[in-house]
């Protein structure tokens, strides 16, 4: 699964740690999701979508 997390984060000038704090997860989690090494669960994907005020489909796409 591909995602636009890194781009969206850069647009807002957020650090990985800041995004991690907003999501209440570790920085390693944000890093793993951004680099495509880990696909988040549906609840976390919804949380990410809420933080960016977007839909899940706008952030995550199929490979």
């Amino acid at each position: 699964m591909k995602n636009r997390l890194k781009v969206l984060r850069a647009e807002r000038d957020w650090s990985q740690q800041h995004l991690a704090d907003l999501l209440e997860v570790s920085r390693q989690s944000v890093n793993a999701i951004e680099t495509g090494r880990y696909d988040p669960s549906l609840p976390l994907a919804f949380k990410i979508a809420d933080v960016f005020e977007m839909t899940i489909e706008e952030i995550f796409q199929r490979d």
Binding site: V25, S29, N31
Partner: protein, 193 residues
């Protein structure tokens, strides 16, 4: 005292883990070389576990651990100290006294029960960990450790069946699994860099 100085010296968890392993290696070498006797070795091993306390503190300070991981580390350190002390007491009493029956069973449980504490701590960590990626990483590491145990167990077991190698005690599964867990987690951390 060491734990208090950790933040100011900037020593990370790897430093304390390395220092602990170096201590264990030195104590093991002294024991194998006959420089110290069994009880002294066990006491030194238990004292060496104290080095894991600043390691946990440094880990928490580095922001690389969750509250659940901090609790897990604390539980493992307490269980490890209990294990080393239990093993030392049990072996010393077993070698020096004619212990039989239920008392002998109780002696055998002295190192076994704290070891179960380590297994309980791992299970508890997986329940407590709220960060799904950290939980996933630990589960993958644990599965890697399980793979190592099963592979070595089957390989060595058949060698032992055909009397090609000496017998080894079944409790070795936990240290072997723990080493596998460590390697599995280390590999994932290297991939994160």
């Amino acid at each position: 005292m060491n734990g208090e100085t950790t933040p100011s010296t900037g020593r990370g968890p790897a430093f304390w883990a390395g220092l602990y392993l170096a201590n264990v290696a030195v104590i093991g070498a002294l024991k194998l070389g006959g420089a110290i006797n069994g009880p002294t070795g066990f006491i030194l091993m238990a004292l060496a576990c104290v080095l894991l306390v600043p390691m946990i503190r440094a880990q928490a300070k580095s922001g690389c651990s969750s509250e659940a991981l901090r609790l897990y580390n604390k539980r493992v350190v307490v269980s490890s100290i209990g294990y080393v002390l239990g093993l030392g007491i049990a072996i010393t009493l077993w070698r020096n006294y004619e212990v039989t029956g239920p008392v002998l069973f109780g002696l055998a449980m002295l190192p076994a029960l704290p070891t179960l504490g380590i297994i309980w701590a791992m299970g508890r960590y997986l329940v407590d960990e709220k960060d799904e990626y950290l939980r996933h990483r630990t589960i993958m590491g644990a599965l890697f450790g399980l793979g190592v145990v099963l592979t070595l167990g089957i390989f060595y077991g058949f060698l032992e069946t055909f009397e090609l190698v000496p017998h080894i005690w079944a409790w070795w599964v936990l240290p072997v699994w723990a080493v596998g867990l460590g390697i599995g987690q280390l590999w994932q951390r290297v991939r994160e860099q």
